[in-house]
Symmetry: C2
Subunit: 335 residues, 2 copies
């Protein structure tokens, strides 16, 4: 195994349930310097695991492990950190409790401080739900986070985004094999259906109009729907996917005692210098929502991707978009 | 029953199968004048039946039955015209053949000419798949159709629209009760899941952001998702819904011997004066696709709805959008 586990012990969650003997799976890249001033935290996205983030890390890139100590914490419920699939009864499977973004960042903070003794983070960045965790980091620990680059994600999950996820969940759960989470083998038909539903949302109308999937090595639309989208979820545990979707749907950096639901106050409280980077054709983390949020942040620049890749402008498969992102990361890290 | 049946006999379809003892269900409003010059044809939309179109008809409106003879033909597979649910074996249920938009307009043409002896149609108009049938009318019978107002629909089904429908179909078919169409009772879980998937597509991000559903009498987002979206498909036959989705996915006014797949030629061949009216926030029949198509038509005006209702700008529930549409219909009918 190419990652480490950080034992969290018993973690009381916002929902009121305690996650017992919980753990975070994480991987680090590069070396922590003596001043502990070269730290980058880079959370994972929906269904992603740490290795799915590695495309943005490399020599000569902004996230250069010869300069920075980069930590990728796996989001709770992603199958490597504590999840429905790896927690013993009675809190396993369908009984795994609701985990919020706030809960995630609280335990990531413990990893950063208890395991590494880090007091300042040079940069938090992430894609999609990773961007949501980025915002949560900056709102939960405004004096600790110096810079953020959330890309293709918002500080709260806006209503249409919630509706989109209702469709994704419904497709998975329509499979009788799902059995309310008490399946004996994965509900493969539902997992594949979920991928097909997601396919229309992940990319833009222009992506499909211009058959950009052909550049990815897929030979037809159907080849892409099966080869990429069905495969993406087919390999995951259904309860984990539903649990992460619930985390996502509840996303709101102000849904905690610090801000008591005052969303604009939470955004105003972010001290980090920020470049907020939505995809201009993202269908669920919309540029309009990002622009509004950015205006509420004191030190933030709004810089959308101009891309036909929709949400996947930040997914690493589009070289132009990756360069645009990497340049912004370099710019902010140099400031 | 408030509609009539037109017996079609045996109808050879584009797919090579013959639909035997086929019939069209239709309803008329107003009186055909002596010159047969006051005819409006107004096809139905996906899952809709003739009565779902009636909101656009009325005294003082463009579609005024005191002036016009308005014919609403029910689309094949919609449960009233020949459909998987009402066709006897062996071509019933999952064995019901693929019906194209071309096939639909061929049999509607027979209704118009054989039943009523009509040679000119003053206007064809329709929403969504009704708009697609409108384009098909104008391309299949360019010398017969004088005016068209297709709203929230395109002359072919563009790739992203096909992907969106893949998700809708997959959600329905993930329900094991679907049984490849050989169900003994409706796959209700799948039908409800399909509604939840559709909910995110039907309206715009702004519609949900501003909770416009509250104006429709729904008390919460969940109340709307169940009360409108689950209910919309829950009442329909699953094979009929899949059959209409297939018709939709194959939509292309040039996919026939007249045009041999030359889409721009088919658009150029439309002689009707046209006002093409997409929703500017429609997520699957996009304004970009409509604008391109309109530019290929010789006598067409591009006039998008400016509306937060997305695809449902043309659904009849938004009074401002309905007035905008009705005014355009009046303008074109007066020309």
């Amino acid at each position: 195994m190419d990652y480490k586990l950080f034992e969290l012990g018993n973690v009381p969650l916002q929902c009121g349930i305690t996650l017992r003997n919980a753990f975070l799976a994480y991987k680090t890249y590069g070396t922590l310097n003596a001043e502990k001033s070269n730290v980058i935290v880079y959370p994972t996205w929906y269904s992603g695991q740490h290795y799915d983030n590695e495309w943005l890390i490399g020599e000569g890139m902004a996230l250069d492990p010869s300069k920075y100590f980069i930590i990728i914490p796996n989001m709770l419920c992603n199958g490597l950190s504590s999840s429905p699939s790896n927690t013993p009864p009675p809190f396993d499977k369908a009984r795994f409790p609701l985990v919020t973004l706030y809960d995630n960042i609280q335990v990531q903070h413990r990893l950063i401080t208890e395991q590494f003794g880090i007091q300042k983070i040079a940069l938090v960045t992430g894609w999609s739900m990773g961007a949501q965790q980025t915002f949560q980091w900056a709102a939960s620990f405004p004096d600790m986070v110096e810079r953020i680059v959330p890309f293709c994600g918002t500080a709260k999950t806006w209503p249409h985004n919630i509706v989109f996820l209702e469709g994704v969940k419904a497709a998975l759960c329509a499979d009788g094999a799902w059995n309310n989470g008490w399946y004996t083998e994965q509900p493969y038909t539902g997992l594949r259906a979920m991928g097909r539903v997601y396919a229309g949302w992940g990319l833009s109308q222009a992506f499909y109009r211009d058959a950009i999937y052909l550049k990815l090595g897929y030979s037809s639309l159907e080849d892409y729907l099966i080869g990429y989208w069905e495969n993406l979820f087919f390999r995951r545990d259904a309860n984990n996917l539903i649990a992460m979707a619930r985390t996502w749907q509840k996303g709101d950096i102000s849904a905690n005692p610090t801000y008591n639901g005052d969303f604009e106050k939470a955004l105003h409280s972010i001290k980090a210098r920020a470049i907020v980077m939505p995809g201009d054709k993202d269908l669920y983390f919309t540029p309009e929502d990002s622009e509004y949020e950015t205006k509420c942040m004191p030190n933030a620049i709004f810089r959308p991707f101009r891309s036909d890749w929709g949400h996947f402008a930040g997914g690493g498969a589009s070289p132009e978009d990756t360069k645009f992102l990497d340049d912004s990361l370099k710019e902010l890290l140099a400031s």
